[in-house]
Amino acid sequence: MQGIIRTIRDGSGFDILLLLLALVYLVAFSAFPIIYNIIMSLQTVDMFTIASFDRPFVGLKNYYDILSQPLASTIFWNTVKFVVLSIVFQLSIGFGLALFFQQDFPGATWLRGLFLAGWIMPALVVGAIWKWLLAGDFGVINYILMSSGVTDERIFWLSDPDVALYAVIIANVWLGIPFNMLLLSVGLAGIPRDVYEAAELDGAGAFERFRSITLPLMRAQLGAVISLGVIFTLQQFDLIAALTQGGPANSSNVAQYWSWQLSFQTYEISLGSAVSVMMILFVIVVAAVYVRSTHHEHSY
């Protein structure tokens, strides 16, 4: 008995205790829901059988049903566009802003803090505001575009099937910029000043310094921000719910929203689960990249 107490106090027992706590937490709050979800995707489940495990097992039929729907390819490409465009713009604008606020000017840190306001706001609120801005008949953005002569015709941002997805992407980019900026700012602050000074003495110009010092030293942060960006973008649900609900005619529908629609609008819960399991598989790959890139964080 005393031995146990001793190892917990200052031996390997303490390590095991910590490990157990983390494991119990993970099993209860992550592994169980994921496994439960996988099980549901292999059964036939509706609203009324959700409380019991005893449901007809159908194997991979749900996956076959989902992938054979004509909608599947639309949703897939919408999701690819949504993720890739969101990440590209969030990252480049966020990185640009991070570099900008790295400069020493009065109020720089202050203003950088203010940028976080967007990140703090719930996506539903952001969605409601963007819905006003992007409204077809009375929206602010249309008013600005038309009165400045950019277009003569109103753009129906949310109801034109050729535009709706991009409207959602614009709002999502806006929402994601502060987070990208903040994480990259931290990375930039970690690069020692003297490396730049040495390079400057060697005659390297601003662009050369960015290319050969900033980018390589930021590799870990960029990898982390991109992987987190992919994960967050694939989780983006509220914004779509507030802006277009995936419409019109599914033109702005993406996998995560489709999964919800299947589960809670037509109560085909097993199909909704199948979509989310496929998303989980993809996210696991992304998460592996993320873990690898943070692994390199101490390399310099």
Binding site: T49, A51, F138, S159, P161, Q245, P248, S251, T266
Partner: protein
């Protein structure tokens, strides 16, 4: 000691008296009620009246958002934590009844002195009937009609006494009334990708002979072409595709649409928001002499099968049913049964909706209604956005509907 006894005798006697009084009056039954009403609507306004009329029954109200109601009820049914009485939207009654989750009211209604089955209008009665049994009582009914702005009619040289009667006349009127310079569209309606889109579409389809189980028809194509023309020529806002009825109607109230298709639930809001002269008329028909149709809306009061107080719950349902003559003036519902409505507010509009009710048809009933509805609004959307032509869109919908109906 004596003093203590004397000192305690009073309270003990008092408590004894309380006890006998309580047992004599019997413990009041508390019914758990779920509703979609807000604090100034239907059941909240009726609660005190009911408790006064039936002091032995107390009501405990809980508001659930309309869009969460089915989810929450199904979860509650699965775990056995449900209410005694709840609101259910018309097309969802079959979903719950078919799974044996609702109490069959047929025998109770047969013995009731207040509820008479024959008095309930056929549409609302069909919506609470599943497999020949009655599972709920309609709290009222609603339907849709065409509202129009009389001032705008006069300004554009249209006769407000002769509102559009056919689809062609509706198109012509919308064309004349549309005024982009003033931000005015001819017509506001809803083709949104939800139950509301299906709700607005079905009457048009039914006037041409189709129905929810027969959408792949020439008439269906005609409806989508008519709707498409209104959108393509910007006689209705492109946002018709993403706006529900409430938001669409707001543009009519604001003077940005000259006509609007919606139901009587808009009247309380119009009284304050619409600063112009307005009237209503029956939904236009495909051509002169074509049969009329209209949508049947509103919800029902039902008792869950596992309620511990079915007798008291039915007393509540009966009592709510007896309020039918008041629902128009107090809640903006149309009566769902034959009753005399004295001094209706907005009497001309009431007359229009009262007539419209004669043509109102139920959606379904079918236990998998959400899937049928989705097939229909998906077809509407893909045709109006020109992703597919009306015939192909309706053909795809028909295939999905046939699969649900097991044809």
């Amino acid at each position: 000691m004596k003093r203590i006894v004397k000192w305690m005798a009073g309270p003990i006697a008092f408590m004894g008296a309380l006890f006998t009084a309580a047992t004599a009056q019997a413990e009041p039954v508390t019914l758990e009620i779920w509703t979609i009403d807000r604090a100034d609507q239907y059941i909240y306004l009726l609660k005190d009246e009911f408790e006064k009329a039936h002091p032995d029954i107390k009501l405990n109200l809980k508001t659930i958002e309309f869009r969460n109601m089915v989810n929450d009820l199904a979860r509650a049914a699965a775990t056995g934590e449900g209410p005694d009485v709840t609101y259910i939207d018309n097309p969802e009654v079959a979903l719950f009844a078919s799974r044996g989750l609702l109490l069959d009211l047929t025998p109770m209604i047969a013995e009731s002195k207040i509820v008479k089955k024959d008095d309930i209008f056929p549409g609302p009665l069909a919506s609470v009937t599943w497999d020949g049994k009655i599972y709920g009582l309609p709290r009222g009914a609603n339907t849709i009609a065409l509202y129009y702005n009389v001032d705008m009619f006069k300004a554009k040289g249209l006769d407000p006494d002769k509102p559009p009667r056919t689809w062609d006349e509706l198109y012509e009127a919308a064309k004349k009334l549309t005024d982009p310079a003033k931000n005015v569209y001819g017509l506001a309606f809803s083709a949104v990708a939800t139950e509301e889109g299906t709700f607005q579409f079905l009457p048009w389809l039914q006037m041409t002979g189709g129905d929810y189980d027969k959408v792949d028809t020439e008439g269906g194509v005609k409806v989508l072409e008519a709707w498409g023309k209104l959108l393509d020529e910007k006689l209705a806002s492109p946002d018709t595709l993403i706006r529900g009825q409430y938001d669409s109607f707001a543009t009519f109230n604001a003077g940005n649409a000259a006509m609007a298709i919606s139901g009587p639930w808009e009247l309380p809001r119009m009284a304050t928001d619409a600063k112009f002269d307005y009237r209503a008329t029956l939904l236009p028909v495909p051509h002169d002499g074509a049969p009329r149709a209209s949508a049947l809306g509103e919800g029902d009061n039902v008792i869950l099968a596992n309620s511990k107080h079915p007798k008291e719950a039915f007393i509540l349902l009966e009592w709510l049913h007896s309020k039918m003559p008041e629902v128009w003036n107090r809640f903006g519902f149309l009566p769902a049964s034959k009753v005399q409505v004295d001094n209706p507010q907005s009497p001309e509009i009431y007359a229009v909706f009262e007539e419209s009710m004669k043509y109102a048809r139920n959606r379904g009933p079918h236990p998998e209604w959400p899937k049928i509805s989705k097939a229909i609004y998906t077809a509407i959307q893909s045709s109006l956005t020109h992703q597919s032509d009306p015939k192909t869109a309706l053909g795809a919908a028909q295939k999905q509907i046939d699969a649900v109906l097991g044809k």
